[in-house]
Symmetry: C2
Subunit: 309 residues, 2 copies
């Protein structure tokens, strides 16, 4: 089952001819989470075959235009296509005012679905969503305006039971869930068959964290610790360190430093300033610090593979 990220946009605020502003879709076991929604997101979704009806939850890091201008177009298209499912948006509470004014202006009371706004907390880590398979947290970043990162966690994955052992010990169905969850099996003659002998493919639960926009800051390192995949903005290279400081953005070096300190599996960098037609200076300085770094491009699909424990 998939844990797959699709990149829809990699630019920062100023438009370029070949990059789109920030938007990514994370597919966790068939749940599609849209993270940020810059102008043109719906076009990119069509291009990279992310169905509009699959998106039920949108996560908005902050209210700068390059992260939100695609929302009204996407919602309009959902209306045109006759969507009737609820749409959940996790964002700063002010987004509701901004967006619902536009929706009401354009569609009055004719919207065939509900938009449910979930305000984020910018002071502390919060669990903002949970279902049987996934937990999602928000955590504060350090930008010019209130900004949150997000951490998506697969819930611990239970092992499979070995078919051969089920037959060998004639393990009844009612016992099986308990063994999957870590229990041993006791045979009718009192022998203890340990959990480890009965189970195979015990995978590590997968995780992804999204950090944009932000300057490097001690406060959020713990929130991204040990994730398999970290996206961290890297708007500039070190040659523009001063500009990064002024604008509360990160360099390639900053992103890699966060990845190293948080001991993540892989690092993705993006949100490249329009001044870098070629992002290799940003990538190169990151790789020196954290070799498992990749500079993302529109259309990239990154799978987080299952790993045995």
């Amino acid at each position: 089952m998939s844990f797959q990220l699709t990149i829809l946009g990699t630019s920062s605020a100023l438009p370029t001819s070949n990059r789109y502003p920030t938007a990514q879709v994370l597919n966790v076991l068939g749940r599609f989470f849209l993270i940020d929604c810059g102008e043109g997101t719906q076009t990119q979704m069509r291009k990279y075959k992310i169905g509009f009806s699959k998106i039920d939850r949108i996560f908005i890091t902050h209210l700068h235009g390059d992260h939100i201008f695609g929302l009204i177009g996407l919602i309009s298209t959902m209306i045109l296509l006759g969507r009737d499912k609820d749409l959940h948006i996790y964002s700063h509470s002010e987004l509701q005012k901004y967006l619902s004014a536009q929706v009401n202006f354009l569609y009055a009371d004719e919207i065939p679905f509900r938009i449910i706004y979930h305000p984020l907390n910018f002071k502390s880590v919060q669990m903002i969503y949970e279902d049987k398979k996934v937990t999602i947290y928000s955590f504060p970043l350090s930008h010019r305006i209130p900004t949150c990162g997000f951490r998506f966690e697969e819930k611990p994955v239970l092992p499979n039971l070995k078919k051969q052992k089920l037959e060998e010990y004639n393990i009844p169905i009612r016992e099986r869930q308990r063994i999957k969850e870590g229990g041993d099996f006791i045979t009718s003659d009192g022998r203890v068959i340990p959990h480890s002998e009965l189970t195979i493919y015990h995978y590590k639960a997968r995780s992804f964290a999204f950090c944009s926009d932000t300057r490097i800051d001690e406060s959020y390192i713990e929130s991204v610790r040990n994730v398999d995949l970290l996206y961290h903005e890297a708007t500039f290279a070190e040659d523009n360190q001063e500009l990064a400081n002024i604008t509360y953005h990160s360099t390639g070096k900053d992103a890699a430093t966060v990845a190293l300190r948080a001991q993540v599996g892989k690092l993705l960098i993006g949100h490249f300033s329009a001044r870098y037609k070629d992002n290799s200076p940003i990538l190169e300085e990151a790789i020196k610090i954290f070799p498992q770094t990749r500079a993302i491009a529109e259309g990239d699909v990154i799978d987080v593979e299952k790993k045995l424990l």
Copy 2:
């Protein structure tokens, strides 16, 4: 001097992976007029090298999302780039409410330029802009909501004076403008040298009209009569005539019929429904009626050449 149209988007409301929503830029003698502004217009401008600072006047036909969703992104970029010139927007009066709410929400009082809204009249033909070289008219179209087309006219072009004749008759500088404007020259010995003998390259003033979105309607034929270049929407082919009727859109046949009846020079069709991956059915039915028809694509540049009278 140029009279040049650049196509930025050719799709109708639903997004496709390879078309952008409606936006065109008309360059009349160095004045750049943006007509409609669908989502992604700023990206397309960057791609096709239309400088943001060149745009001083934006013309919005109507308030459907696929014609306006690019405005806030474009304006944001103008703010980021430090624009200080006025920006004029010609549109339904309600756009000001919609757009200024967004601008105020995002930028409060920190906008470094004025946005001046010019409300359109949807009842009759109006002259909405005039300078030394260009006149622009709006005229009502027939769509589900109030919609205007636009007609851009170069002012009559004065001829050049023949250098050889200026010398032969020793024509003083103070006489030259009068001759250019149609006067004859009278020599010191009383001979009348006719205007036609003294002038060359007397060009016809060029014109372009923009009709989208609309169903075919008697009322606007006169407003586009004799233009050199007509853009007319052709959302559908005849196989979807009923859908065209219901949605107040045109077919290829409708667009060509308008072009034929108004005796225009060339016809451009666009605003293609997402159901036509290939627009050739729409183009083919138009060409049967009006052979000088072209189906537009993103990045097309169409020059209206100067023609001798």
